[in-house]
Amino acid sequence: MNKVINISKKNNIKEFDALIVGGGGSGMRTSLELAKSGLNTAVISKVFPTRSHTVSAQGGITCAIQSADPNDDWRWHMYDTVKGSDYIGDQDAIEYMCSEGPKAVYELEHMGLPFSRFENGRIYQRPFGGQSKDFGKGGQAARTCAAADRTGHALLHTLYQNNVKEGTNFLNEWFAVDLVKNSKNEITGVIAFSIESGEVCYLKAQATVLATGGAGRIYASTTNALINTGDGLGMTLRAGFPAQDMEMWQFHPTGIHGAGSLVTEGCRGEGGYLINADGERFMERYAPNAKDLAGRDVVARSMVMEILEGRGCGPEKDHVYLKLDHLGADVLNSKLPGICELSKTFAHVDPIKEPIPVVPTCHYMMGGTPTNIHGQAFSRNDGNDFMVSGLFSVGEAACVSVHGANRLGGNSLLDLVVFGRAAGKHINEELKSGGGVDNASNEDIELAMNRLNTLNESESGYEVADVKKQLQTCMQNYFGVFRRGEFMEKGVKELEEIREKSENLHLKDKSIAFNTNRVEALELQNLLEVAEATAISAMMRDESRGAHARDDFPERDDENWLCHSLYDPVEKKLGKRDVNFVPKEVEAFPPKMRSY
C-alpha cells in the first residue's frame, strides 16, 4: 500500500464535485439527486451497495399519503413524531420531513419500488407504533407504507437500480479512513483505499457527504448488520467535530432471542401482541390505550420489567413471546412472509403455530453528526454553532434531528429519502452557484493517512477480535435499556483502557488484497469513538427521556434537559444545544407528559 500521496505529482488523487461516503438508502438517494443534476458524483461504499444495512428494514416507510385514510394529515404525523421524540426532536426538521414525505414516497413508487397495494390500487399502509389520528385524539392510525415486510430491500434495490440508470460512479468495496481537513477547517474529501487492490487514494471533493449509517455493533446484541460500525462518526469525532444526542440508542422490542435478528413492529401493527410466561398480554398494563403499539422505548422497558420481575419465558426466563398465530396463515404468508422465514431459520419456530421468543435488542442510533435540514454539518466554537464547509451528513449517521430521544417505527426510511433528497438538492445549488472549498496541503493529507499507516506498521499489540469483544461487552453491560450512574462511571473507565488497546492494535495480516483483518481493525477504532461518545453523553444526562432510562434519575427533567446534548470529542465533555421549537407552518407542539 502506498504510504504517501503527493498533490503536486497528482498521483493517487481522484477528484469529484460531490463524494458520498456510504451506499445505503440515504447515500444513494443523495447520489441519485446529484447524478441527475449533472455534477460529477461518486459513491464510495465498503460493500456492494445492495449489501448495505437499509436492506434489512422490514415494516415500511411512514408517511401521510392518505391511502389507508383519505383524511390523514402530515401534521398528525408530525405530532406523533414530536411526541415520540420525547420533545427533543427539532420541530422545523420534523415538519419538513412529514410535509415533504409524500413527494419523496411517490418518487420512490415512480422509480419502480414494488409497494404492496390496497384493492383500489393505492399503496398499502399498515399501523405502526406511536401513530395516531387527530393529534393523539382519534385513535390508532395506519400510516406506514409497505412492500410486504421487505420494504428496506425493495427501497435499497430500487435506489441502486435508478443510480445505475442515471450513471452514478460507484467505488464499491472502498473503505474511507479519515476526513481531509484543510487549514481553514474545511473538509476537502477523504483518504480511502480499495479493499480489493489496496490502492490508497485521496478522494477530493467540493462536498463530502457522510451517509455511513449507524453503529449498532458497539453492543454485543444488536439487530444491526456486521458492517454497522459508525465509520462516518469515527471520522468526524477524530477530526474534532461534535456528535449530538449520542446517549439516545433505540432498543427494538422484538429482536429474536439469541440471534438478534429484527422482527418488524409491523407484526404488532398487523395484530400480533406480546405475552409473558403467564400468557398475559402485559402491555395492557403499561400502555392501556396503545398497548403493543406504544413507543418502542416504552414497550422495550415494559418487556425488561416483566423479565426482571420473574415473568420472562423459557428456561432462563430471559425473554418474552410475540404471538402471531391468531392472525392465521393467510395474513402471515401475504403480509409477513420474511418474518416467517427468519423465525424458522433463527428461532426454529413457525409463527403460524407458535410464538416467537423476543427480547429488546439494540437497533438504532438517534444521535449523530448534527446537521440542518440541508444536511450541512455543524460544529461549535465558544458556544456558537457554525457550518463546517464541505461536510454534510444524512441518514442514521446524521442527527438532523427528527428522532430526538426515540424514533418512531417507519420514520427511518422516510428520514433517508427525505434528507438524502434535500442534501442532494442543496449541494447542487451550492456548487452551481460557485460554492466550494479550498485545497488541502500535503501535510493535511498526511495527517489523514496517519491512522492507516500506523496500523500497517504495527509489529505488536492487541488482537482486533479480543478488543472488539471487550468493547461490546462493556457497552452491553453498562449502557443498555436501563442505566445507572455508578455502573456507567465504571463503563467509562473501562472504555479508557479499551481506547488504549484500540490505539495499539496489532495488524497481523499485512497483505494487500482483500485484507478483511485491516478493515475490521479500522472499524473497531470507529466503534470505539462512537462508544465513548455514547458512554460519556449517557453518564452526563442525569434524567430519563425517551430511550435514555436511568434508574437513578427516573423522571424527565425539562428544566435542565429539554435540549440536545452535544459531545465534544476533544475535551470529552458534554454541552447543550437548543431544540428547535419554531416550525414554519404550524404552531410548535409544547412538551407534555408522554403516555400511550
Binding site: Y106, P114, K165, T516, N517
Partner: protein, 245 residues
C-alpha cells in the same frame, strides 16, 4: 466431537496456486450457522477472508459453495450440511477468485445491468403514485425478492460456459420482474434485447438455480415465461416473434 473443516485458501501475493487448508474445530454444542463457524475460525486465523454483512440472509454477501452446494453461509445451519463431521467451503464456482472465499463478481453485475434493471415508462408520472391492483402487484412476488447473491448464476453450467453472453438466471429473473410489472411500458424493447441465441436461450432447464436459491425463488420458471413471451408475444402487448429469424 471434532469437526474437520476444509477451507479453500488463496492469497494472490503469496500463493502460486489455491489450496485446501484443514482446520479442526470442537463441534459447537448448539447448532450454529456456517458463517458463525467461519467467524470462529477467523478469530484464530485473521487471514481468512470472506464477505459478510447482514448475517440474516437478506444482503447476499456471503454466497459460497458449502459441501458442494451453493448457499448463504449466514442462514445455512451446520446440521443441514455436515457430511459426517466434514465441512468443505469453497468460493462460488465459475468466477475469478480474488482471495479465499471472495470472488470477482464484475461479470455477474454486468449481466444484471445489461437487462436494464429499472422501471421504464413512457407516461409522465402522476402527482401521486401510479395505481396497480393487488393482483397485478402479486405478479412481482417471487421475483423482486432477489438479493443478488449469485448462488444461482454460479451454479449454472450455461453461465460457466458463456458468462459474457448468457445473461444467467439471476439477471433473467430481474428481466422478468420488469416484464411482469404492469407499470413498465418497454416490454417490446426489453424482449428484443433478449431475443438473440445466447441471452435467454442458453438456458436448458438444468434447474440448478432453483435448487440452490436461498430465497426459494424460481429463475427457471421466469426464464420459461420470457421464452414464451418471445415466442408468442404477451397477450396484451401483441409482441412480435423475435429472436428466431
Amino acid at each position: 466431537m471434532e469437526l474437520n473443516v476444509s477451507l479453500y485458501r488463496y492469497n494472490p501475493e503469496q500463493d502460486k496456486f489455491p489450496y485446501m487448508k484443514n482446520y479442526k474445530v470442537k463441534k459447537p454444542e448448539k447448532d450454529i450457522m456456517v458463517l458463525d463457524l467461519l467467524n470462529m475460525l477467523k478469530e484464530d486465523d485473521a487471514t481468512i477472508s470472506y464477505r459478510r454483512s447482514c448475517r440474516e440472509g437478506v444482503c447476499g454477501s456471503d454466497g459460497m459453495n458449502i459441501n458442494g452446494k451453493n448457499g448463504l453461509a449466514c442462514i445455512t445451519p451446520l446440521s443441514e450440511v455436515l457430511k459426517g463431521n466434514k465441512l468443505e467451503l469453497r468460493p462460488l464456482p465459475g468466477l475469478p477468485v480474488i482471495r479465499d472465499l471472495i470472488v470477482d463478481m464484475t461479470q455477474f453485475y454486468e449481466q444484471y445491468e445489461k437487462i436494464k434493471p429499472f422501471l421504464q415508462s413512457d407516461s409522465e408520472p402522476p402527482e401521486q403514485e401510479r395505481l396497480q391492483s393487488p393482483q397485478d402487484r402479486d405478479k412481482l412476488d417471487g421475483l423482486y425478492e432477489c438479493i443478488l447473491c449469485a448462488c444461482c448464476s454460479t451454479s449454472c453450467p450455461s453461465f460457466w460456459w458463456n458468462p459474457d453472453k448468457f445473461v444467467g438466471p439471476a439477471a433473467l429473473l430481474q428481466a422478468y420482474r420488469f416484464l411482469a410489472d404492469t407499470r413498465d411500458t418497454k416490454k417490446q424493447e426489453r424482449l428484443e434485447e433478449l431475443g438473440d441465441p445466447f441471452s435467454v436461450y442458453r438456458c436448458h432447464g438444468i434447474m440448478n438455480c432453483v435448487n440452490v436459491c436461498p430465497k426459494g425463488l424460481n429463475p427457471n420458471k421466469a426464464i420459461g415465461e420470457i421464452k414464451s413471451m418471445l415466442l408468442t408475444g404477451s397477450k396484451e402487448d401483441k409482441i412480435k416473434v423475435v429472436g428466431l429469424e
